[in-house]
Symmetry: C2
C-alpha cells in the first residue's frame, strides 16, 4: 500500500504525533518478527449475535498478546547506543513479557519493574524471555519511581505500555491486518485499557474504511473511557474493580483524543457477563482468551443479543470484527472457580 | 487421488473388512459435513522435543472431536428406511455428541444410552444436538442391554463407537488430511482407546507413506493395547484407571489386528505426565485439548525429551505428527485442580 495515497482520515487530531502512515511503517518494520495471526469464526457465537463475528486472534501472537506489536515496533527504532543501554518499563501485565521478548530479539537488556503482587505466571514469562525483574510496592507511585531510578542508573530507555507513538503505531497493525483479512467489516471492536490498542485501531479503521463503526468495550468496574467520553473531558480511573486485569488503567495523553474524537461508541459489560462470555468462548472455540478480551464479546452479546434487548434491540450489522487481545491466563486461578 | 492406483499397504490384514479405499471413499462422502481442521505448530514444544511437531487439531472438528468423522460417515450410508428408524449408541464420551449431530444433519433420531454418571457437559452436548438420552447404570452390561432394548423397540440402527468399518474409515480421514497437509512426516502418533482412530491412521499412513513410523499412545492406567501387542494376543482392559476418559475402553475385533500388525510401537504416559503435558499445551498454544490427546504429547515428551531419557535417548525424527483427538473438557473440573 502506498502511504502517500492513503488519507489519515483523522480530522480532529491533527496534533497527534502518530498517524496512519506510522501504522503502515510499523507493519513493514515488524513483519518479520510478529505472527500474522489468524481470524477465527464460531458458528455458535455468530448465531447467538445474529451476524458474522470475526475474531482477530492476538492471543496467538508472540508473548500471547497484541502487546508484542507495540513493543517490537518501539525497540526496533532504538539506536545502537540505546540498545546497549537497554530498555525499562513498569507493568504487571502483558507489556512486561512482550517488551522482554522484543528486547531479547534485539540483544538489549529489559528491566521490568513489577508490583510484588504480580501473578507468578506473568513473572515467569518475563524471566523466560530473559527480562530482569525488579519488584516494587503495588502502587503506581512505587512503580514509576523504581522505573525512574533504573533509567537514571543504567541509561535504559523507558518504553511505556501504551502512551507512546511507536507503541500505538505498532498496536494499530492488529486492526490493519484484520481489515485486510476481512475487508467487509461493518463494525470493529477493541477493548479499552490504557487505549493503545484502541488508538491504533482508530488509525487503521478510519484510514482504510472511513464508514466503519469503531466500538470500544470496557468493564463496568473500570469504565473511565466511557465516562470520559460522556463528560467530554479526561477522567482518570480510580479504584478499578474488575476481573479484566488488562483494562484497569487510565487513558493516556496520546490515547484520550482518539477515544474522544474517533471512537463511535463505548459498550460496557459487567464481570459476570465477562466471565460467562469467556467460558462460552473457551467451550465453543477450544481457544483460550483472557478476561480482558472477553469484555468486548460480553459487551457485544449484551448490546445485540435478544436476551439483553428489553425491547430496544439495536439493528445488528452484518459483520463484526473483535480484536482478541491476549490469551495469558493463570490456569490455576480461573475466574469461574472450581 | 485414484483409488485403483493406491496399494492398501496392509499386508497382514487382508481379512479386514475395511481398507484404504474406504478411507478415500469416506473422505469424499463427508467432505461437505466436516471441517478440514488446521495443523498447528508450537515453537516451545518443537524446541523441547528437538524436532518439528505438527498437531492435527481435531479439537476444532464439529462436535469438538474426530469422532464426528466416523459418525457422519456411518449415518451418511444408511438407507432412507434406516434413517427413518433412527440410530442408537451407548457412549459416555465424544461419540455420543458426534452421533447426535450426525443424525440431526440427516434428519434421523439419535438414541444415546449414557451411564448415569456421565459428565453434565457431555449430556448437554447430546441434548443440544437433539439427541435423545436414555440413562443407564454405569456398567457395560447395562449400557449394552439398554441399547439392545432400544434397537428392538424402535428398529434404530446401532452405530458403535469404534468397532465398525464405516466408523474406522471415517476416522482414517483425519490422518489422510494430516499427511496431505504435512507430507514430510516421519512419525505419526494417535492415541489408542478402542482403536478406531488408530486403525484409520494405519490405513492412511501405510497406503500413503509406507515408511512412516506409526506410533500409538496409551495411558499407563489403560495400557491394554500395549500389553496385547506385547503378548501377541488380545487382552481386554479391566478396571482402567486414568484421567484420559476417552482411552479407557478395550480394543475391538476389527481394531485389534491393526494394532497388532501395523502399529510400530506403543508409548505410554502416566496421568501426572499427561496432566502436565495438557497444561503445558494450553499455556503455550492457547488451544484447549482434552486429557486423551495430551497422552500422545506426554508419551512423546517422555520418549524423546532429554529430561526423560536416562541415557537411552532414542534418535529424534525430523517431523512428528500428532492427532489431537478432541477438546471437550469440563472447565469446572480441570485435572490440575484449583
Amino acid at each position: 500500500m502506498n502511504q502517500d495515497t492513503v488519507s489519515d482520515g483523522i480530522a480532529n487530531t491533527n496534533s497527534t504525533p502518530v498517524r496512519f502512515a506510522d501504522v503502515l511503517g510499523a507493519a513493514d518494520r515488524i513483519r518479520s518478527f510478529v505472527h500474522r495471526t489468524p481470524v477465527l469464526t464460531c458458528a455458535a457465537i455468530s448465531e447467538r449475535i445474529g451476524c458474522n463475528v470475526f475474531f482477530k486472534c492476538e492471543n496467538f501472537q508472540k508473548s500471547g498478546a497484541f502487546k508484542f506489536r507495540g513493543a517490537v515496533n518501539s525497540v526496533a527504532q532504538l539506536s545502537e547506543a540505546d540498545l546497549a543501554s537497554g530498555v525499562v518499563t513498569h507493568s504487571s501485565g502483558n507489556h512486561a513479557g512482550a517488551l522482554a521478548l522484543a528486547a531479547r530479539i534485539f540483544g538489549a537488556k529489559a528491566h521490568i519493574v513489577m508490583p510484588s503482587n504480580s501473578s507468578e505466571i506473568k513473572k515467569s514469562a518475563v524471566r523466560e524471555y530473559g527480562g530482569l525483574i525488579t519488584e516494587c510496592e503495588p502502587t503506581l507511585a512505587s512503580r514509576m519511581s523504581e522505573a525512574a531510578r533504573i533509567q537514571s542508573e543504567t541509561g535504559a530507555v523507558l518504553i511505556p505500555p501504551f502512551d507512546h507513538p511507536h507503541v500505538i503505531a505498532g498496536q494499530g497493525t492488529a486492526a490493519l491486518e484484520l481489515i485486510e483479512q476481512v475487508p467487509e467489516l461493518d463494525v470493529i471492536v477493541s477493548p479499552i485499557g490504557g487505549g493503545g490498542l484502541m488508538s491504533g485501531t482508530c488509525l487503521a479503521a478510519r484510514a482504510l474504511r472511513p464508514s466503519m463503526r469503531i466500538v470500544g468495550a470496557e468493564p463496568v468496574g473500570a469504565d473511565d473511557a466511557f465516562r470520559s467520553k460522556k463528560a467530554g473531558k479526561f477522567i482518570p480511573q480510580l479504584a478499578p474493580n474488575t476481573v479484566a486485569d488488562g483494562l484497569r488503567t487510565s487513558l493516556g495523553q496520546l490515547t484520550w483524543p482518539f477515544i474522544r474524537d474517533e471512537v463511535d461508541e463505548i459498550l460496557l459489560a459487567d464481570d459476570l457477563e465477562t466471565i460467562a462470555a469467556m467460558k462460552f468462548f473457551w467451550e465453543r472455540t477450544k481457544v483460550i482468551i483472557e478476561p480482558s478480551c472477553a469484555v468486548p464479546l460480553a459487551a457485544i452479546l449484551r448490546h445485540y443479543s435478544e436476551e439483553n434487548s428489553a425491547g430496544s434491540r439495536p439493528e445488528v450489522p452484518q459483520n463484526i470484527g473483535i480484536i482478541i487481545s491476549g490469551g495469558n491466563v493463570d490456569l490455576q486461578a480461573l475466574p469461574w472457580g472450581k
